[in-house]
C-alpha cells in the first residue's frame, strides 16, 4: 500500500490547492478557465509519449501514438485558444 499513499497525498493536497486557486478565478473568465485547465491536464501527453516511444509491443505503440496525437491537440489547441480569448478581455479605452 505504500506506493499508493504517496500519490494519494499528492492528489489530495493538489485538490486543495486547486480548490483555493479556482474559487478566486473571476467569473468573467470561466470560459478561458475551462480551456486553460483542459490544456494543463493535457500534460497526460507525457504518459502518452513514454507509451508511444518505449516500443514494448505494436499494440502499445499504436495506442500510444494515437494518445500522443489527441493529448497534443489539447496542449496546442488549449493554450492557443485560451490566449485568443484572454487577448479580447480589455479595459475601457478612451475613444474619440
Amino acid at each position: 500500500m505504500e506506493d499508493f499513499v504517496g500519490p494519494l497525498t499528492i492528489f489530495i493536497l493538489s485538490g486543495f490547492v486547486g480548490f483555493q486557486v479556482i474559487t478566486r478565478v473571476s467569473p468573467l473568465l470561466h470560459t478561458p478557465l475551462m480551456s486553460a485547465t483542459n490544456a494543463i491536464s493535457a500534460i497526460s501527453v507525457v504518459g502518452a509519449i513514454v507509451t508511444a516511444g518505449s516500443q514494448y509491443n505494436t499494440v502499445s505503440t499504436i495506442l500510444g501514438v494515437i494518445a500522443v496525437a489527441s493529448a497534443m491537440t489539447n496542449v496546442v489547441g488549449g493554450f492557443v485558444i485560451t490566449d485568443r480569448m484572454l487577448k479580447m478581455f480589455r479595459k475601457e479605452q478612451k475613444r474619440d
Binding site: F19, V21, T31, T37, S41
Partner: protein, 460 residues
C-alpha cells in the same frame, strides 16, 4: 536525461501551472499567467523526450505533428460562439489519450498487475471512456448534429444504475484476478455506453453543468493515470482540472437552484407542470413595439442595462449590441451589461462574446452586483434570454424554476425584450415579464432587431 532531473522538471512545471491558474483571478494578469503555464508544459514535454524508457521517436513525432496541426486548426478557426462545442470536444480528446494509455498499460502487464495498480487502471479507463463518449454526445447536441432536447425512456435511471453496478462488479473481479482480459475490455465497452446514456437525457440548456462535470471527469481520469504510471505531475495537473470542473458545476447548479443529481437524472423540462397556462399569463396583456417607439425611450434615459442570453449568440448579435451601446454612450447614457451565470451554453459564455465585440470588461456586471440597482435603471434590454429573467422564480414556489436566482430586470422602469416569439424558454413555462405593464416586446431576430434600433436612433 537523468530521471531525477526529469522529476525536478515536472515539479517546476507543476508550480508554473498553479501560477498560471492563479493569474486567471483577474483579466489583467491572465495572459501572463497562461504564458507561464505554457512554459511549464514545454519544459515537461521536452524533458520527457529524454526519458530513458524511450527507444524510438518515430511514433512520437508523428503523433505530435498530427495533434499540433489539429489543435492549432481548431484553436484558430473556432468562432467564439462555438466555444462550448470546442470545449466538449477537447474533453473527449483529453479523456481519449488517458484511456488509451490505460488500455496500453493493461495490455502490457495484464495478469502481472498489483491490486492497487489494477484498481487504478480500471478506474482510469472507466472515467476516461465515459468522458470520451459523454463529451462527444455533448458536442453533438451543442453543434446541433443531434436534437438538443432530453432523450428519456421508462426505466432510464434504473438501467443506468444497473449498468453502473455491473461495471463496479467487473472492476472488483479484475482487482481479484487481473488476468481476465475479457472483463477488462467489457468494462471499457460498458463505460463507453454509459457515457452516452449519461448525457442523452440532458437538455441543451443544462449543458453548462454537464460540460463542467465532464471537465471534472477528464481531469480526474488524468489524475488517476498518474497513479498508474507513477507520474506526479499527472496527478497534480489532473487534480487541478478535476477541482476546477467540480467547482464550476457546483456554481452552475447553484445559479439554477438545482442539485447535481437533479440535473443529471431529472430530465428538466419534460414533465414541467406549468402552473399558469400561456393564455392566462399573456392574454391581451402583451404590448409589442416598433424600433421607432423603442428608440424614443432613450431620449429621457440615463442608465441602460443590456441582458444577453443564448439568443444573442445564436443570432451573432454581439457586434451590433456593441454599436448600440456606443451610440447610447455618445448621448451621455450609462450602459452596462448584466450576465447571469448560466446564460449561454457554458460557464462564462456571454462574457467571451461581449469581450469579442470589444466591450470593456468593467462594464460586464455579475448578477449579485447589478441586481440591487435595477430600480435605478431606465431601460433594460433583454436579448435572447428568457428563464433567467422570469420573475416567477421569485414569486411562485410551485414553478419548476422556483428559487432560481434571476436578474431582476422587471424592477427597471421600462423593459424591452427582444425575442422572436412568445415561445417558452427551456423550463417550458410562460414568462409574466413579457406581459408586465412596464415591458415592451420587440418581436424580431436578435441581430436584426438591434440593427433596426440603431437605424431608428440615427433617424431620430
Amino acid at each position: 536525461m537523468d530521471q531525477h532531473l526529469l522529476q525536478w522538471a515536472y515539479l517546476f512545471a507543476a508550480i508554473l501551472f498553479i501560477f498560471g491558474l492563479k493569474g486567471l483571478s483577474s483579466p489583467r494578469t491572465a495572459r501572463r499567467g497562461m504564458f507561464l503555464a505554457a512554459i511549464g508544459m514545454f519544459i515537461a514535454v521536452v524533458g520527457t523526450l529524454f526519458d530513458r524508457e524511450i527507444v524510438g521517436f518515430q511514433g512520437i513525432i508523428i503523433g505530435m505533428i498530427i495533434g499540433s496541426a489539429v489543435g492549432l486548426g481548431i484553436a484558430v478557426w473556432t468562432p467564439m460562439t462555438a466555444m462550448p462545442q470546442r470545449t466538449a470536444l477537447s474533453h473527449a480528446f483529453g479523456a481519449l489519450a488517458v484511456t488509451l494509455v490505460g488500455v496500453s498499460e493493461y495490455y502490457r502487464h495484464g495478469a502481472g498487475l498489483s491490486a492497487v495498480t489494477m484498481g487504478a487502471i480500471g478506474f482510469e479507463v472507466f472515467l476516461g471512456a465515459l468522458t470520451v463518449t459523454g463529451s462527444l454526445i455533448a458536442f453533438g447536441k451543442l453543434q446541433e448534429l443531434m436534437s438538443g432536447s432530453p432523450v428519456t425512456y421508462p426505466g432510464q435511471n434504473v438501467s443506468n444504475i444497473a449498468l453502473l453496478a455491473a461495471m463496479a462488479g467487473l472492476l472488483v473481479s479484475l482487482i481479484v484476478s487481473p488476468g481476465m482480459s475479457v472483463l477488462f475490455y467489457l468494462l471499457v465497452a460498458l463505460a463507453l455506453v454509459f457515457g452516452v446514456l449519461l448525457v442523452l437525457p440532458i437538455g441543451a440548456a443544462d449543458m453548462p453543468v454537464v460540460i463542467a462535470l465532464l471537465n471534472s471527469y477528464a481531469g480526474l481520469a488524468a489524475s488517476v493515470s498518474g497513479f498508474v504510471i507513477h507520474n506526479n505531475i499527472l496527478i497534480i495537473a489532473g487534480a487541478l482540472d478535476g477541482a476546477s470542473g467540480f467547482i464550476l458545476s457546483i456554481l452552475m447548479c447553484r445559479a439554477m437552484n438545482r442539485s447535481i443529481t437533479n440535473v443529471l437524472f431529472g430530465a428538466f423540462g419534460v414533465a414541467a407542470t406549468s402552473v399558469a397556462s400561456a393564455d392566462e399569463v399573456y392574454g391581451g396583456k402583451v404590448k409589442s413595439a416598433t424600433a421607432e417607439e423603442i428608440a424614443m425611450l432613450f431620449d429621457a434615459a440615463r442608465r441602460v442595462v443590456i441582458v444577453p442570453g443564448y439568443g444573442m449568440a445564436v443570432s451573432q448579435a454581439q457586434h451590433a449590441v456593441r454599436d448600440l451601446a456606443h451610440m447610447l454612450e455618445e448621448r451621455g447614457i450609462t450602459v452596462e451589461f448584466a450576465v447571469h451565470p448560466v446564460a449561454g451554453r457554458m460557464p462564462g459564455h456571454m462574457n467571451v462574446l461581449l469581450a469579442e465585440a470589444n466591450i470593456p470588461y468593467e462594464k460586464i456586471k455579475e448578477m449579485d452586483e447589478i441586481n440591487p440597482t435595477f430600480t435605478q435603471v431606465d431601460v433594460a434590454i433583454v436579448i435572447g434570454a428568457n428563464d433567467v429573467v422570469n420573475p416567477v422564480a421569485r414569486t411562485d414556489p410551485k414553478s419548476p424554476i422556483a428559487g432560481m436566482p434571476i436578474l431582476d430586470v422587471d424592477k427597471a422602469r421600462t423593459v424591452v425584450v427582444v425575442k422572436r416569439s412568445l415561445s417558452p424558454g427551456f423550463a417550458g413555462i410562460p414568462n409574466p415579464l413579457f406581459a408586465a405593464g412596464n415591458t415592451l416586446m420587440f418581436f424580431h431576430d436578435g441581430r436584426k432587431a438591434i440593427l433596426e434600433l440603431i437605424g431608428a436612433l440615427k433617424a431620430a
